[in-house]
Symmetry: C2
């Protein structure tokens, strides 16, 4: 069985994405002829036609589309491998946890305390990021992340549910819905909703928002409204009001980490988080 090399996959994805040998070569900072030959050789070794060369356009074959998708997973795995290896060799081991600012459901302090009490606990480094936080896990840049389900893509990750939350509509005090005791999603017709960086802008084409302070500021300025998990209630400014949304699907705060992870530090962290979450839901409701 012929072996597939990373270099070939990099070349192929470039061509498959550009559908143009010249541009792909430029992107790869090389010239076009060796690129053409590399792709030909790849096709010969696989015994498969990957591209249809029309004299004026290049198109993917069925098999080429499959290889494009597969290549991405291989390349992602390869760069994650490099990053995780490097991180494992650091002199100051630490657990990198990526969160959305304000998106911890109020559980984080208790979780961190519980974790530090575990034997062999590492210092925890918090990384704040909006949108695409799971990417950091897949890329091997972080050990764990706090996400909200339903979430676009949790495949390849293991998860632990922490907290089920209802959702609140956040509006300025002067907003037409501010006085309501409850609203439903239909009431939001015509409102501008924020667009998270990286999220496929499904319908809501409001401005991109990069952190919670910015978002609340924009809401106060009447530029938009937002539907957020109920735990942000503590962090609202005085000039904003939160109203329960009846028919918004409830959201679950989950702790996620790359599957196959074996680090005992991570395992301890997951244990700690699960314990804290169990207490919270068991006692407090």
């Amino acid at each position: 069985m012929e072996r597939l090399e990373v270099r070939e996959l990099v070349y192929f994805t470039a061509v498959a994405e550009e559908l143009h040998f010249g541009r792909a070569a430029a992107r790869l900072e090389m010239t076009q002829p060796p690129l053409s030959r590399a792709i030909q050789q790849l096709e010969r070794r696989l015994g498969v036609a990957l591209l249809e060369r029309g004299s004026r356009r290049v198109a993917l074959t069925e098999a080429g589309a499959v290889l494009l998708r597969e290549s991405r997973t291989v390349l992602d795995a390869a760069s994650a491998a490099a990053r995780r290896t490097r991180r494992a060799s650091r002199a100051d081991p630490r657990l990198v946890l990526v969160i959305k600012p304000g998106g911890d459901g109020g559980l984080l302090p208790a979780i961190l305390d519980a974790y530090q009490a575990e034997p062999g606990a590492l210092p925890v480094e918090l990384v704040c990021s909006f949108g695409e936080r799971e990417i950091l896990l897949r890329e091997g840049r972080a050990d764990a992340a706090l996400l909200h389900r339903p979430h676009p893509d949790l495949t390849g990750l293991d998860t632990q549910d922490l907290l089920a939350e209802t959702q609140l509509l956040v509006v300025p005090s002067s907003h037409r819905l501010a006085g309501r005791t409850r609203v439903c999603l239909n009431d939001l017709a015509g409102e501008t909703l924020p667009r998270w960086p990286g999220a496929p802008g499904g319908g809501s084409h409001g401005p991109e928002v990069h952190d919670l302070g910015q978002l609340l500021h924009l809401i106060a300025l009447r530029r938009m409204v937002a539907v957020l998990p109920s735990s942000i209630r503590d962090q609202l400014r005085d000039d904003l009001v939160a109203v329960p949304v009846d028919d918004a699907e409830p959201t679950t705060l989950v702790l996620a980490w790359p599957e196959h992870a074996t680090s005992p530090a991570l395992a301890a962290f997951v244990r700690a988080a699960a314990a804290v979450a169990g207490e919270a839901t068991g006692h407090g409701g």
Copy 2:
């Protein structure tokens, strides 16, 4: 960022598994010096020590252990990529479904019929295999598999539940438990249970069993007993008896396929299977 090459990962896994450069080189069908240099270069490029060379033994460092695990996933992904690409280019497209003989819960004929009625259905090729059936999915050798949950490792696979089944103890008619109307797991103390190839022989160190006929034969010969999903009831020989096991965790027949799969033929098959399963549980209970 330096790129990690497949060749290097192959070399490294060989050394990491053998913990011996000479043997690793032999396994790779090359000589020892270039292998040593390749590993050194890998370490230099990563900036990480992967191996501790004692003059008489080689050991993995912490980072080396991480890279070994990561390498396996990269290499698996790479060979799966090659196989899936080749399969996608076949002139006679077909859907490869891997099953455990007798493990289809009786649903398979209906599923196949429903699938063939879907638009764009492909011929279905059935592959029978005991143990490690999910490996065939990960390797890109099959499109879908029928498995039973709880299952050792479903990560990296998407699944669709098909049928919840209670478990039955299968024994010869002359067995001491054959007359019971129900048993519990404690009753099985001292009995020999089959060991599936590939499964970590957890406690039960009986003989390895490779197909259902063989298993039933061995049970009839009083060499072992087995706990199996209730749908095998139809396939029992006259000289065997099935007794419900009260406290065995119920098992779920699931259809599994590689995550990120995009083939419309597979999607149609999943739809068909889900429809049949819905009917079965909806009407029949």
